[in-house]
Symmetry: D2
Subunit: 163 residues, 4 copies
Amino acid sequence: MQDLLTGFLSLLQVCKVCNRQITPFKMFEHTTYIRVRYGETDQMGYVYYGNYSLYYEQGRTEAIKSLGISYKKLEASGIMMPVAEMKVRYKGPANYDELLKVVSYVLEMPSRSMTFHTKIFNEEGRLINEGETKLMFVHGATRKPCSATNELIEALLPHFNTN
Amino acid sequence: MQDLLTGFLSLLQVCKVCNRQITPFKMFEHTTYIRVRYGETDQMGYVYYGNYSLYYEQGRTEAIKSLGISYKKLEASGIMMPVAEMKVRYKGPANYDELLKVVSYVLEMPSRSMTFHTKIFNEEGRLINEGETKLMFVHGATRKPCSATNELIEALLPHFNTN
Amino acid sequence: MQDLLTGFLSLLQVCKVCNRQITPFKMFEHTTYIRVRYGETDQMGYVYYGNYSLYYEQGRTEAIKSLGISYKKLEASGIMMPVAEMKVRYKGPANYDELLKVVSYVLEMPSRSMTFHTKIFNEEGRLINEGETKLMFVHGATRKPCSATNELIEALLPHFNTN
Amino acid sequence: MQDLLTGFLSLLQVCKVCNRQITPFKMFEHTTYIRVRYGETDQMGYVYYGNYSLYYEQGRTEAIKSLGISYKKLEASGIMMPVAEMKVRYKGPANYDELLKVVSYVLEMPSRSMTFHTKIFNEEGRLINEGETKLMFVHGATRKPCSATNELIEALLPHFNTN
């Protein structure tokens, strides 16, 4: 793997003058915090590499909840969002009982799929993990692909409109 | 907790003459083997206490499969078996990559519920874990309690008949 | 299993006059909240029976943290607390994205072991799960049993003193 | 993500004449089988996307074991192999109780890192998941990077030598 999120990372430079993130285009971003459980570590003493998927998932759930959309209700209404692709880069360890900062980004408006980028920071503010997950939209009954719901599109639009 | 499985354990004495297990009443028993995964350990260096539930479950699935019954098909046919109670006694650690011997016992014919006893032995043959899980029978559609299926009863009967 | 926590439950009656819990003897109690992850459900549509162990663990960690004691630091100082016994009673399902109320109780002063009782309530306030976990104190280096640390004893004492 | 394993996949064409895999360069390959547990599914009814990490891990463990090398012993000897990168492509679902065929590939000789490719097939022989994991070599004591052990290099060499 060359650079996993090269293009993505280049967007996240911080302006040295105003100390704000430079975003050449609009996007949606949400932060949540997750406490590492003992059972999520392995005998290496750090969070098991497979358990970041749970953190990404929790980040995504909270991110769209902040838009006023419940994935639980979405699924109850007949739309499911199975994961189609995942990429993870492990840059440093996470420890038991650490309070991780999990930042979820949506960089593109969803259509048939929706991609989340996730960055995880440890308690010292160091970036220890980043990844992306691409989710499809499917009808729950038929498991056939479909498009993002209007509700989701409308909730995201304000974050992508250039005013 | 006093003695978790006192009555149960007393059944599992081995005859010093014939080296066979002494079973004062009939029962059904099945053995399967499970290899411990790295991700199932925690930072103490042993299998996380919560992961034995997965081993019990795998033991139960294989046990009833050996009776010619697939829990998968049972569920597809509309009967679910949620767990109502679990007791676990942790007697020793299990290590990464260890091949555990998982023995599942059914000591009583199921009616509205079915109870499995499980004993787990490490590679040196030492009993490291024992527990029991009580599962209910419920209709998948209504989630209302029901009785064990005839298929299951008939498959178990030969193991409990005294001839 | 007869009644799992009969004695325990009888303690938790609520006074009909003052609406406070009647505690015939002193104890320590702590409440935390846990959001159910998608990955913690199984195909029955509810939280997998094995995942309650993670909720219990998180409840215990937060409970002793509220006493000013970090289990992480305890372990770093050379004391480990492996689980010796667990009992669980599943009384109702927990759903994805539900915010569970997890109440942890310590009913007896720890000595060579420490027992936590846990009660989990769903969003409607219904008791859906209760259990207990008995943890041993062991030296991390030797894995030999030892006694509860003075720090822990002193932190708990005020909750058990009768004034 | 464009094509996850484009180069990789192009290697795995099957010769229409001899029905054997065409491998333009040498590699190491190992197959193991994993039965899906109930607790590994989620409420969508399929294996949770995060649990494939466990299958990859088990595939890797068995793969190097087939070379006569125990990762357990490697770690006991002071070398750890934390995961640095993972990519996964989910092409189809895996069901409870399904016996998955997990094929692990090493396409390049390890140096400071070692990359495994994994392909998972369902019971009908359909490719449902593929991914890769890049693991680093680190000293357990210092957690500093190091090189692959001679033992591992020597065990792999015969699979890469062109005779």
